[in-house]
């Protein structure tokens, strides 16, 4: 165990939180799945805890263990296309402040889905009401609901789009009463 190696491990362990998964696996952001797998194997060969089994317990061994767990984490995120896409978005959206993939809890996912719809509870409620009126072909009522939702959130593009869609349906409705 030479000093150079110890330095390398220490540097890596300390830098982990500043590295994205591509940097951890030492691959290009455009790497194919096969390249990612190869990189996982290569990095594992170097940082596998079994390789350092005989090291005394201490900061170096802990550092290696920490790195090997992060290598696994990078691999399971990047080998899955869906997760990889999410991760890329997350890194970009946070301007590289968030570099670890956190799968939001189901609860949070539900909340974030709601928040994608609208910021206010009243707006979201009216929007849902409008959708069910659309389903019943009650386009006049639907248009009213979407417009009322817009009263709460004037700049909500989703509400606006649906209000327009309902208005379009009214125009296209030639049935007699």
């Amino acid at each position: 165990m030479d000093a150079k190696f110890i330095q390398r491990v220490t540097d890596w362990a300390n830098a982990l939180d500043r590295l994205d998964y591509y940097q951890i696996l030492r691959v290009e952001p455009t790497a194919s799945r096969e390249e990612i797998r190869k990189a996982y194997h290569a990095q594992s060969r170097f940082f596998h805890p079994d390789r350092y089994f005989q090291l005394p317990d201490g900061p170096v061994k802990q550092g290696i263990y920490k790195i090997s767990k992060r290598i696994t984490e990078a691999y399971i995120t990047l080998r899955d296309d869906e997760k990889r896409r999410h991760y890329n978005q997350q890194v970009a959206a946070s301007q590289r402040r968030v570099l670890r993939y956190t799968q939001q809890s189901e609860q949070e996912q539900k909340v974030s889905k709601q928040q994608e719809i609208g910021k206010t509870e009243a707006g979201r409620r009216l929007y849902q009401q409008g959708l069910s009126e659309m389903k019943r072909n009650n386009f006049t009522a639907a248009e009213r609901s979407f417009k009322m939702a817009m009263a709460y959130e004037a700049d909500n593009q989703l509400y606006k789009k649906m209000a327009e869609e309902a208005a379009g349906k009214i125009k296209a409705d030639y049935s007699i009463k």
């Binding site: 996982y40 594992s44 596998h48 079994d50 089994f53 005989q54 263990y65 767990k69 399971i76 809890s105």
Partner: protein
């Protein structure tokens, strides 16, 4: 590595165990003084101070059924209310009783033993065999477990090692060990499936073997399927036929049942090389007048196949699962490694050949390959020139209990290890002072359909309205596949953690105590 430092590779099987070492850079099975290479995982209590282990002990199943413990692996790490334990209580002649916290205990010769203690006797025997062969005591070991063993079962196996006075360097998965023994030093680049039908459990693992790396892509299993089940089918067949012919129930008497079990196992083995087996048990029962009757019958291949085909087919459902998880089909596989005694049966080999569309790999001993792999792994750990790196996965999804009897997934099955995953949770009631962290393992989001691994209370976070406090829960699976859980309040920094152990498991003190207790019981030979 100093030349005289060895590590035992122990395959602790349901029916048989095997011990190996690496000597002069070659893995080898250590035979006992009778030149036997595999040893029955049977523990027979002679009196309170003496116990017999191995093939000799197995012979005592007939003469001393109440105090001769077999298939303990089927019970290790399980709760008393689990289906497997209930089944064992019906069919096993030895006494199975309830211990603290729904654990299982075995009573023999007026002494009560935990399952890790029973397995420790087998491990001690392996140690003894190595000592006799090498003339030196070896206390380091790598022990294998079925890939589909849950955390409780792994912990209990590791405890057994400690009780036996072994330093358990690693607990590794049986199919992974087999792949290691197959691919070690060959510089392969291929995908293999390991079909492991043991005495009590079935595992399938799909591996990608690269230069020095053995990556498990997926694993699946059934801890209720093995050669024992084939024996049971044959026993039932014998007993039913006898009932029909003489109207005598052979299932009533323990000794008769043991004779049937023995005959069933012999019949099964005979089918490895024969297509027709003659079973003859003279004077196995008598009628009320005392007239003795023989069990005398012939079974052909066709009947044997009919009796057991559904068991074999069940294994392929599990294989389907593994392939699905790997995102592969049988065509992606270059070779199939067969592990476990029952894979010697032409019936099994043919079915495997049919399923995978290719001949299984030759030249691999299905009884010894796992122990050889364990020895290689042990040797690698102590070597500075390690040439094999296992990249294994966790077989079952790990979950945290949430309100309303539900669970939330923290680490999904087939995730490579070591790994840690963190999720944020919150309180469910206003001004809640503590939370119970309950850990489950299984594939359902309902708590009652999963196995409870353990629980601990966490407090010390800010008292606040519900939903206002954050609790960070981290699950970590270490290189032995064993789970550690931490809870932390990111605001106060207050933290609590535990190595998850079965609530009925053994504490360090208990392990130390039972190890001492075991030392008072002598292994005889």
């Amino acid at each position: 590595m100093s030349s005289n430092e060895h590590v035992l590779g122990i395959d602790l099987g349901t029916s048989y165990s095997c011990v190996s070492i690496v000597k002069n850079d070659k893995p080898m099975v250590i035979p006992n003084k009778n030149h036997e290479r595999i040893h029955a995982s049977v523990v027979s209590f002679i009196d309170s101070g003496h116990v017999l282990v191995g093939n000799e002990a197995k012979r005592r199943l007939l003469t001393n059924p109440k105090h001769t413990i077999y298939s303990a692996k089927r019970l290790i790490g399980r709760y008393i209310f689990s289906p497997e334990v209930k089944k064992a209580k019906v069919v096993c002649p030895y006494e199975i009783i309830e211990g603290p916290n729904h654990s299982v205990r075995i009573k023999a010769m007026d002494q009560v033993f935990s399952l890790p203690q029973i397995s420790a006797f087998v491990l001690k025997e392996m140690k003894k065999i190595a000592l006799a062969y090498l003339g030196q005591e070896i206390s380091k070991a790598v022990i294998t477990v079925p890939a589909y063993f849950n955390d409780n079962q792994r912990q209990a196996t590791s405890d057994a090692g400690k009780i036996a006075g072994l330093e358990v360097l690693r607990i590794i998965n049986e199919p992974t060990a087999a792949a290691l023994a197959y691919g070690f030093g060959k510089d392969l680049n291929e995908r293999v499936a390991v079909y492991d039908l043991g005495g009590g459990t079935f595992d399938i693992s799909i591996l990608e073997i690269g230069s020095q790396t053995f990556e498990v892509i997926s694993t699946a299993g059934d801890t209720y399927l093995g050669g024992d089940d084939i024996d049971m089918r044959l026993m039932d067949h014998f007993a039913d036929a006898f009932m029909e012919k003489y109207n005598i129930n052979l299932r009533k008497d323990i000794t008769t049942l043991q004779k049937l079990r023995e005959a069933a196992e012999e019949t099964k083995r005979a089918f490895s090389s024969q297509t027709r087996v003659h079973v003859h048990l003279p004077a196995i029962a008598q009628d009320e007048k005392g007239t003795p009757y023989d069990l005398d019958m012939e079974i052909d291949n066709h009947t044997f196949s009919q009796l057991t085909m559904d068991l074999i087919q069940r294994s392929f459902k599990v294989c389907d699962e593994a392939f699905q998880a790997a995102g592969m089909t049988v065509h992606d596989i270059h070779g199939v490694i067969l592990v476990g005694g029952p894979t010697r049966l032409p019936l099994v080999r043919d079915a495997v050949k049919h399923y995978f569309g290719k001949e299984p790999l030759l030249g691999i001993d299905p009884d010894e390959v796992v122990s050889l792999g364990a020895a290689i792994q042990g040797h690698s750990l102590l070597s500075t020139q390690t040439q094999a790196f296992l990249l294994d996965v966790t077989p079952l999804t790990l979950r945290l209990a949430t309100v309303g009897g539900y669970t939330e997934e923290i680490i999904s099955k087939n995730t490579p290890v070591p790994i840690d995953r963190t999720k944020l949770f919150t309180t469910s009631r206003d001004n809640q002072e503590r939370v119970k962290i309950r850990i489950f393992q299984g594939e359902s989001n309902r708590q009652e359909e999963c196995e409870l691994l353990g629980e601990f209370a966490f407090s010390g976070f800010r008292i606040a309205p519900r939903g206002d406090v954050q609790i960070e829960v981290t699950f970590e699976i270490d290189s032995n596949g064993i789970l550690n859980v931490r809870a932390r309040d990111p605001e106060t920094g207050e933290a609590a953690s535990t190595t998850v152990s079965l609530s009925s498991g053994l504490s360090e003190e208990e392990i130390a105590y039972t190890a001492e207790q075991l030392d008072e019981v002598e292994l005889v030979s």
